[in-house]
């Protein structure tokens, strides 16, 4: 349909990629099923692999959201981890409320940390989080509103490039410090742990794991479709144009503030969803998630995979995290060398990221 159909070899590559993606998706979807096979079965997939893959899927959603902002709209956010963490905290608050009287101190309403920090009653901003729908709303709303406010202020005053990156970094850093404070009522350094159940399901069962896994997978697929719909529309090209020459776009009559804001807020919401799915799977959310290093790591996944291509972002998230998991056990003393070296090699030899390698072969 598009008049901008790329020359033949590239589109064949794209076709190959799509097929690859579909196969990958099916393989992923099969994992919890294979997990049910007896341990001795050759196709058995271990609990560990299922749970860790679920986590990577969440990272992939985060990478996707970052790629939308950075790869397409040119907004290099060094604070995307904050949106992820906020989504996670919203989910965490819900999970904490669900613990109910099963906490150590047996308080019917207050989470344990509030009890031993001497809270008398639930702070107002915790109200409503016992309701699943409300919590889910907050998962997208809180990051979205933060992105809206920050983005509106920043884009309106035409803060771009590194200035924007550093502002977003300052944002996540400030949030980290704030959430570390015990007085904030979010559990301080320890954050939230010891979750019991979600939607009536105990969390430490295979069923719950599989459920969360599928929820994440569906969220990933949906985000991917949404992002690819966006990037292939004219709006996507406006974003690219803004990335390369925002001033010029304004003279064409586009209000770039609105365009960037739309992309940024959407991206933040996706990140929030990723965080919300992540928390019950890893069982903890704490201010460390706000640390600027985490956000930078997410940028790195996208860069390794290939900035400006959605598949690349997903690929990057999976490969970097997969490697990290493997190396931190296989070579606990040397993994930083291997991973650091990999980053160097990718930038030197794969300027388009891993995806460039795949596309190059497909052509």
């Amino acid at each position: 349909m598009s008049a901008t159909a790329t020359p033949l070899p590239a589109s064949r590559a794209r076709l190959g990629l799509r097929a690859g993606l579909l196969v990958a998706l099916l393989l992923l979807a099969a994992m919890p099923v294979l997990n049910q096979l007896p341990v001795t079965h050759p196709l058995h997939v271990s609990d560990f692999l299922v749970s860790i893959t679920g986590k990577w899927i969440c990272y992939a959603i985060l990478a996707l959201s970052l790629d939308l902002a950075w790869g397409y709209a040119g907004i290099l956010s060094l604070g995307h981890g904050a949106f992820f963490a906020l989504g996670g905290y919203a989910m965490g608050m819900h999970l904490m409320r669900l613990i109910g009287p099963r906490g150590v101190y047996g308080h019917p309403v207050l989470p344990d940390f509030m009890v031993f920090l001497g809270y008398r009653e639930l702070p107002w901003y915790w109200l409503g989080f016992d309701n699943f729908a409300f919590a889910m709303l907050m998962v997208v709303l809180v990051p979205g509103v933060l992105a809206l406010v920050l983005g509106w202020l920043a884009f309106r005053s035409r803060i771009t490039g590194v200035y924007l990156s550093i502002i977003t970094q300052a944002m996540t850093y400030a949030l980290m410090l704030a959430f570390f404070r015990n007085d904030m009522g979010f559990g301080g350094n320890n954050g939230f742990t010891d979750f019991k159940e979600l939607l009536g399901q105990p969390l430490n069962t295979d069923t719950a794991r599989a459920g969360l896994f599928y929820a994440s997978l569906i969220a990933l697929a949906a985000s991917f479709l949404l992002c690819s719909r966006i990037t292939r529309s004219k709006y996507g090209r406006v974003l690219t144009a803004i990335r390369d020459g925002e001033n010029r776009v304004r003279f064409l009559g586009y209000n770039t503030t609105h365009h960037k804001l739309f992309a940024f807020v959407l991206s933040a919401m996706l990140a929030g969803v990723a965080g919300a799915l992540y928390v019950p799977q890893v069982g903890i959310i704490n201010p460390g998630e706000f640390s600027p290093a985490n956000s930078i790591e997410a940028v790195i996944w996208v860069a390794v995979g290939g900035r400006g291509t959605l598949v690349g972002a997903i690929l990057g998230a999976f490969s970097v995290n997969g490697l990290k998991t493997w190396l931190t056990s296989a070579a606990p003393d040397l993994w930083l060398f291997v991973l650091g070296g990999l980053f160097v090699l990718v930038t030197l030899f794969l300027p388009k990221g891993l995806i460039g390698l795949l596309k190059g072969r497909g052509a």
């Binding site: 200035y163 550093i166 860069a303 930038t347 300027p351």
Partner: protein
């Protein structure tokens, strides 16, 4: 020197009644007892005014007083040991070092202070006046009176006067007390205030005078506190400035997002450590190891920077964001290398004597020496950097190359060399920052990580490419932080600073010292 000391000791001894001799001997065994007995013995020795007590008490304070198996005490001096009573050299076999605790240390300070009030060494007298002031005993009044009468050095006199006032406050004579209150109220030291407050309970009769004196001190202290806060802000600013300066070159001028910047700072700190270890063999050199480290750290970091630029970054010009990925990777590797070579633990970098302690500026404003040095040092480094960039041919070529690489080359500028030198220069400055940071922070593989965020914030807040912006940014953030800290607490102050910086950038979207005009849009 030795001669005068001897004469002085004789003089003191001659003035003593004979029975004191026995008291000295009688007090000694207490020094080998438990902490209680020790403190008591020290007090007694201090009250004796026997010159022989001085070396014994000093030895006890320094951990050089040993107990022999037969319970007699000896003093170790280097390798030699001498008997406390006879002064004869003895064998040190089977000895046990006498240990003390804080309580004994407090007693020692008071005792030594009393004994040394009339020492010929002015430094000792000053310390003694200070010690006597802190030990706060009514018994000191006559001693201080006598010492004050002989004292000529004004600084010591002042100190003695305060000590005397404090001692008088404890005395029973009401007139003396009032004198004491008055004298203390005229000072501006927090310790004097503390003494006054302590005295409130025991002296209800002169409470109004005491309160007035405290209020007078408070007024002076408020001014002093403001000055102190200001200095602390400057000092924090100077640290930020140092950490950010290298980045202002590699990032501000060259546009390379160098995530390994912190690691270069860390390398500088480790170089300081190595230079110090190398100097350990040559004792007279040791205090100078820090100045020696400055060129060494510059060279080490610059060499690493040049290597990184030539080997890696040069392939990425025109793709600035990729440098983020690459330098992040390099940073990881540098950090782990250091961890494997030096271990994950902190390394100890000593402060040279001239950087220790607190200096009193006029109006009794205390500034810590090391901070003062770092402040001065940061300004020097800034000045040199500005000079190098603004006023040298190298600086011109550096700016030309980073603005338009290909065109600079067609003007005959050897861009490769300029790039390598520029990056080496920026990295070298980072290394120098490491030397300074080794004086206030951990020397550990994580050293740099703690500064990278602040550094980027400072450079960006000031305006990329503007050294003046970096300067103002660093000091601005430092001051605001320190002004907020007292009422917001350290954590919130930092949060507020970050938020303030974010809001401020709204007003000046390209930093404080933004490049304006057409040029900036090109």
């Amino acid at each position: 020197m030795k001669h005068t000391l001897l004469a002085f000791l004789l003089l003191l001894a001659a003035a003593l009644p004979a029975r004191a001799q026995d008291a000295f001997v009688a007090a000694l065994p207490g020094l080998a007892g438990n902490f209680n007995a020790q403190a008591e013995a020290v007090d007694r020795l201090g009250a004796l005014a026997d010159p022989r007590a001085i070396p014994v008490l000093r030895a006890l304070a320094d951990g050089r007083l040993l107990k022999l198996a037969d319970n007699s005490l000896v003093i170790r001096d280097g390798t030699a040991t001498t008997d406390v009573l006879t002064g004869a050299a003895t064998e040190a076999a089977g000895t046990e070092v006498l240990r003390i605790n804080n309580r004994v240390r407090v007693a020692l300070r008071g005792a030594l202070g009393r004994l040394q009030l009339v020492s010929p060494d002015p430094a000792e007298r000053l310390a003694a006046a200070e010690a006597v002031f802190r030990s706060r005993s009514a018994d000191n009044v006559p001693l201080l009176d006598a010492a004050l009468a002989r004292e000529t050095v004004p600084r010591i006199r002042d100190r003695m006067a305060i000590a005397l006032a404090a001692s008088r406050l404890l005395a029973s004579d009401p007139a003396a007390k009032l004198l004491g209150v008055e004298a203390l109220g005229a000072s501006s030291s927090p310790e004097a205030r503390s003494v006054l407050l302590e005295a409130r309970a025991a002296n209800p009769d002169i409470l109004p005078q005491i309160e007035a004196a405290v209020a007078a001190i408070d007024r002076r202290l408020a001014v002093r506190r403001a000055a102190e806060t200001f200095f602390q802000g400057l000092s924090l600013g100077s640290v930020l400035l140092l950490a950010a300066l290298g980045l202002a070159v590699t990032f501000g001028v060259m546009g390379v997002i160098n995530m390994a910047h912190g690691e270069f700072v860390m390398l500088g700190a480790y170089t300081t450590f190595i230079v110090q270890e190398a100097c350990r063999g040559i004792p007279w050199l040791l205090p100078w190891s820090l100045p020696l480290s400055v060129p060494a750290a510059f060279l080490v970091a610059a060499a690493c920077g040049a290597l990184m630029e030539r080997g890696l970054i040069r392939h990425l010009y025109g793709r600035p964001l990729e440098t983020l990925l690459m330098t992040f990777g390099v940073g990881m590797m540098i950090q782990q290398t250091v961890r494997l070579v030096f271990g994950a633990q902190n390394r100890e970098v000593l402060s040279p004597p001239w950087m220790q302690g607190t200096l009193m500026l006029p109006f009794d404003i205390p500034v810590t020496q090391n901070r003062l040095w770092i402040l001065a040092f940061s300004l020097v480094v800034l000045a040199l950097t500005v000079a190098a960039i603004r006023f040298t041919r190298f600086g011109l070529e550096m700016r030309a190359v980073t603005q338009k690489r290909a065109i600079a080359a067609s003007m005959g500028i050897r861009t490769g060399r300029v790039d390598a030198l520029t990056f080496a220069f920026g990295s070298g400055i980072a290394g120098i920052a490491g030397v300074a940071l080794s004086q206030i922070d951990n020397v550990s593989p994580n050293l740099g990580t703690g500064y990278i965020i602040d550094s980027f914030l400072v450079v960006v807040f000031g305006g990329v490419g503007s050294l003046a912006g970096t300067l103002v940014g660093a000091f601005g953030l430092g001051l605001v932080n320190k002004i907020l800290e007292p009422w917001a607490g350290a954590v919130l102050a930092k949060v507020f600073v970050l938020i303030a910086a974010m809001i401020f950038i709204q007003r000046r979207p390209r930093g404080l010292f933004a490049q304006k005009g057409r040029a900036a849009e090109a």
